[in-house]
């Protein structure tokens, strides 16, 4: 078994390339990261009515998340307990039950095994259907409309897992009385390790001025997108990180923030009645919307792209990305937000296209033995780490460009990969607080 410990030198900001290519490390990640983290599964607006279901994943494991007859939600492994066939093969829809198309085992909306063909004549009397329900995701929690699941029964509550990131996540998703809804969805595959993408909304704002230079040039004026020239040529801002690897950043100093929201959202939120809602719900002129990642891969951008990436081996990932809008917004505002996301951050998005190229090249180059040992550098740590500075809970630094949150993300990664259980992990994370 590959030991990851010596592949991360966080003090000197060096990561060995094996972390992104080794199949054995990837298997450990499935076990120690994906099974033990809180993973985004669905939003209430995706399964509004009873019987509504959505196929999704935790890591590589297929999950079916289903609205029950009583309005509650259940999630279970989308694998028939008989011979392991996918129980439900539709991407989403509305069902009364799920019948496996291999031998016909049939499951109720809650995943319990309802019917087995030929049970009466061909199975012994000792066969008990109750023992063969679909494997339930044991921990399921709704946070402000977003459903998260974990295979680890001992994981702390989602709020505790968020830690100081709660303040920043709420700054995106808890602003409006009417809540949010998903209005568009894209999924696509990229030929690179999943951690490259996780790292970006956690910690890497600086790539944007180079990687995305062209998109800024054509979209700053006359489009639905945010005008990025308002950030100035020497942008200010702030970056935060939280104990369990979450991180994010935004442009502008307190009171003069330059949010990454699109033009229509900015106008809609400036309406007195909406501004009053935001003030009442958040209470502190909170504007933290640049980019954000809740570890491992629940990612939010200021334009309301909200996504996860599912790992597909060390060298591939599958991006599932939704466009979210405030439910109470007028149709024109919603449409502008949707269009902006599609034109910037989707498979045909003008920002997204250039990210894909970087990650593909990085992954390909790591085939080289020397390149893999040479690895990557995280030394943009000039901005000192402050703890609970002003209104900002947790660790943060007074610069929008910093590797601090990436180093924190990999510190959490290392602790997850080495800790035996959540008790040990919680202790390690307090010991390993950066800059404290």
């Amino acid at each position: 078994m590959t030991d990851v410990t010596n592949l991360l030198d966080l003090e000197n900001g060096r990561l060995n390339g094996h972390l992104f290519t080794d199949p054995d490390i990837y298997e450990q990640e499935l076990e120690k990261v994906w099974k033990r983290a809180w993973n985004f599964l669905a939003h209430d607006s995706m399964i509004p009515n009873r019987g509504d279901y959505l196929q999704t994943y935790i890591g590589e494991d297929p999950i079916l998340i289903v609205r029950q007859k009583d309005g509650s939600v259940r999630a279970f492994l989308n694998q028939c307990r008989h011979r392991g066939m996918r129980i439900c093969r539709a991407d989403r829809g509305t069902a009364k039950a799920f019948t496996c198309t291999f031998h016909g085992w049939s499951y109720a909306l809650d995943g319990s095994l309802q019917q087995v063909p030929r049970q009466d004549s061909a199975y012994p009397e000792t066969f008990d259907r109750a023992e063969y329900g679909a494997r339930a995701v044991p921990r399921l929690q709704n946070y402000k409309g977003f459903w998260f699941g974990s295979w680890d029964e001992t994981i702390p509550s989602f709020e505790e897992y968020l830690g100081s990131a709660k303040y920043y996540l709420d700054g995106y998703i808890d602003r409006w009385d009417g809540g949010m809804e998903a209005v568009a969805f894209h999924k696509w595959v990229l030929p690179n390790n999943w951690k490259y993408m996780a790292e970006q909304p956690t910690s890497d704002m600086q790539h944007s001025e180079i990687t995305h230079a062209s998109a800024g040039m054509v979209l700053n004026k006359g489009s639905d997108a945010a005008d990025r020239t308002k950030r100035g040529t020497n942008p200010t801002g702030r970056q935060f990180f939280a104990d369990y690897g979450h991180g994010g950043a935004w442009y502008g100093l307190k009171g003069e923030e330059v949010p990454n929201t699109g033009q229509a959202m900015q106008k809609w939120e400036a309406r007195p009645e909406i501004a009053a809602q935001i003030a009442a719900r958040l209470g502190d002129d909170r504007e933290v919307r640049g980019h954000l990642n809740i570890w491992p891969t629940f990612m939010l951008l200021g334009n309301y792209t909200i996504r996860v990436t599912h790992p597909r081996g060390p060298g591939e990932q599958e991006v599932w990305s939704w466009a979210f809008v405030p439910k109470d917004a007028d149709d024109a505002t919603k449409d502008s937000i949707r269009r902006d996301i599609m034109r910037t951050f989707s498979p045909a998005g003008m920002f997204e296209a250039d990210d894909a190229l970087n990650w593909e090249e990085m992954q390909h180059i790591l085939k080289g033995r020397v390149a893999r040992e040479s690895g990557f550098t995280y030394r943009m740590v000039g901005a000192p780490i402050q703890w609970d500075e002003g209104c900002y809970p947790g660790g943060s630094s007074a610069h929008v460009f910093s590797d601090n949150a990436a180093i924190n993300m990999y510190s959490n990664y290392l602790d997850m990969m080495t800790a035996d259980d959540w008790t040990e992990l919680a202790e390690l994370r307090i010991q390993h607080r950066l800059g404290k």
Partner: protein, 182 residues
Amino acid sequence: MTDNITNLLADVDAADDRAITRFLYEEVAVLDDWNWGAWLDFFDDDCMYWAPTQEDRVSRERSKRISAFGTSVYFEENKVQLKQRVDRLLTNQAWGEEPPSRARHLITNVRVSAGTAPDEFIVKSNFLDYRSMGQRSQDYITGERTDTIVRAPGSEWGFLIRERRILFDMSTILIKNLSLFY
């Protein structure tokens, strides 16, 4: 009773059929030659270029398989927005296409029929777009286009595309991006 093929052929003048087919070939030749600015000349100023998504549904919900306009789409561009995409490529800093990929658009199964107005045609065609990029990267994507094409005397090519709907066959896009035009 006349047969279907006789009816289909009677719908459109043979010369128009030939001209429109050639128009579609010339359009993709411009793209494959990296002449993106000139590609805009094939589109009406009041055009819509869009591409729905697809997903798997059980048979009773199959009518919802293809997303509607204004919902989950890959493209939904008017002429101004198409020009923004072209202008981005022309910055020479659109790194995903710089150096540009070597793309080859194969357009087949062209079916021209009469539209609802005079001098308007509904044209279906299939595509296979191959892309070679950098040293080793290659991919391809297939689908069907449904174009509304109008006769436009005095325009650069004599016809203009008023609407193009691109239906990709992939539901999960298995190539790294949709950075070309389709």
